[in-house]
C-alpha cells in the first residue's frame, strides 16, 4: 500500500508540475529562442540535481521520529495548500488552471520583451523564463519526492516515479508540440492534495508521539476520508451564481462541474 501510494503521489505531483514547466519552455522556445530556452531547462535540471544531492543525504541522517514530525508538518501544510486551491477551483470560486490560456499569456509576454545577450546565452529572457519555470515547478517535486521517499526509506522509488512522469510529459510534449491542455490537471491536483494531506496527518501525528489505531492500516481510512471530506467541502462551497471566469469548458472536461 505505502509503496504504491508513494509512487502515485510523486508521479501525479511530478506530472502536474512537468506539464506546467513544459508550457513555459514551449512559450520561451516558440516566441523567443529554442537554444536559450533549452539551455535554461538544462541549467535548472542541473540545479535541481544539486539540491537533491545536498538535501537527500542530509534528510536521511535525521532520526525517524524527528523526520516524521518535521516532514509530516511540512507535507500537511503543503497538502492543505494544494487541497484548498483544488476545492476552490472545483467549487467555482477560483478559475480552473487552463494550460492553453497559460501558454497564450506566457507567449504574449515573451513576444513583447526585449532581447539581450549574456555570455553564451543568445536570448537572456528565454533562458531565465525557462530556468525559473523549471526550477520553481521542479522544487516542489523535489520536496515531495524527498519527503515521501525518505519517510518510506525508498528514495529510489520516489525518484523513479518522478523520472517516469518527466519522461511521459517529455514524450507527449515532443509528439504534440503544444501545451498538454488535455491532461486533467485540476483533478490530479485534487488527488495529490488529498494524498499529501493524509500522509502529512499520519506522519506528523506519529512523529509527535501519537499511535494510530491499526498502525499503517490507518492510511487506508485516512486517504478516502480526506477525499470524501474535500468533496463534501466542494459541495458546501459551490458557487451557484456564476463560476469564476474561464473554467466552464475545463470543468466539464474534468468532470468537476
Amino acid at each position: 500500500m505505502n509503496g504504491s501510494a508513494l509512487f502515485i503521489a510523486v508521479f501525479l505531483a511530478c506530472l502536474v508540475e512537468a506539464v506546467e514547466a513544459l508550457t513555459i519552455i514551449l512559450a520561451a522556445g516558440t516566441a523567443r529562442d529554442w537554444r536559450s530556452a533549452i539551455t535554461g531547462l538544462v541549467a535548472a535540471l542541473l540545479s535541481l540535481a544539486l539540491i537533491v544531492a545536498v538535501l537527500g543525504p542530509a534528510v536521511s541522517v535525521i532520526p525517524l521520529s524527528g523526520l516524521r514530525l518535521f516532514v509530516g508538518a511540512l507535507l500537511l501544510i503543503f497538502g492543505l495548500q494544494w487541497l484548498r486551491k483544488a476545492i476552490l477551483r472545483a467549487s467555482g470560486n477560483k478559475a480552473l488552471h487552463d494550460e492553453a490560456a497559460a501558454y497564450q499569456a506566457a507567449l504574449i509576454a515573451a513576444q513583447q520583451a526585449g532581447t539581450r545577450r549574456r555570455g553564451i546565452v543568445a536570448d537572456w529572457y528565454a533562458f531565465t523564463l525557462a530556468f525559473k519555470g523549471v526550477l520553481l515547478e521542479g522544487l516542489e517535486v523535489v520536496f515531495i519526492a524527498l519527503t515521501f521517499g525518505s519517510n518510506q526509506h525508498n528514495i529510489g522509488l520516489a525518484a523513479l516515479a518522478a523520472i517516469a512522469a518527466v519522461l511521459v510529459v517529455t514524450v507527449a510534449g515532443c509528439a504534440v508540440r503544444a501545451p498538454l491542455s488535455r491532461v486533467p490537471e485540476n483533478s490530479m491536483k485534487f488527488v495529490v492534495g488529498v494524498m499529501l494531506t493524509a500522509f502529512g496527518m499520519y506522519w506528523g501525528a506519529e512523529g509527535a508521539g501519537a499511535h494510530w489505531p491499526g498502525s499503517d492500516a490507518a492510511l487506508l481510512v485516512l486517504i478516502p476520508a480526506v477525499a470524501l471530506y474535500a468533496l463534501a467541502l466542494v459541495a458546501v462551497f459551490r458557487r451557484h451564481d456564476k463560476p469564476v471566469v474561464g473554467d466552464t469548458a475545463a470543468a466539464r472536461r474534468e468532470g468537476l462541474s
Binding site: 495548500q81 494531506t197 508521539g209 458546501v236 462551497f237
Partner: protein, 69 residues
C-alpha cells in the same frame, strides 16, 4: 543586498507557508498539542491532527469565498 535577502525570504515564505499563514500556524498548534499530550498523558492523541485539519480547511476556504462575495 537587503532587497535580495528579503526576496529570498519572501520566496521561501510563499513556497512553504503559502497564501494563508493561519493554516501553517494551525498545523503547528495541532502537532505541538499532540506532542505535549502524548508526553504527559496516556490518552489517545491521534485525533487532534484530524480535528485540526477538519477545522482549518473549511475556515481557510471560507475566508476566500467571503472575500469574493
Amino acid at each position: 543586498m537587503i532587497a535580495k535577502i528579503r526576496a529570498f525570504g519572501a520566496f521561501w515564505y510563499d513556497f512553504i507557508i503559502g497564501d494563508d499563514w493561519r493554516v501553517a500556524a494551525g498545523v503547528g498548534v495541532a502537532l505541538a498539542t499532540t506532542y505535549g499530550l502524548s508526553r504527559t498523558t496516556e490518552v489517545p492523541v491521534w485525533w487532534i491532527v484530524v480535528a485540526g485539519v477538519a477545522i482549518l480547511l473549511p475556515v481557510s476556504i471560507r475566508r476566500v469565498t467571503r472575500r469574493k462575495t
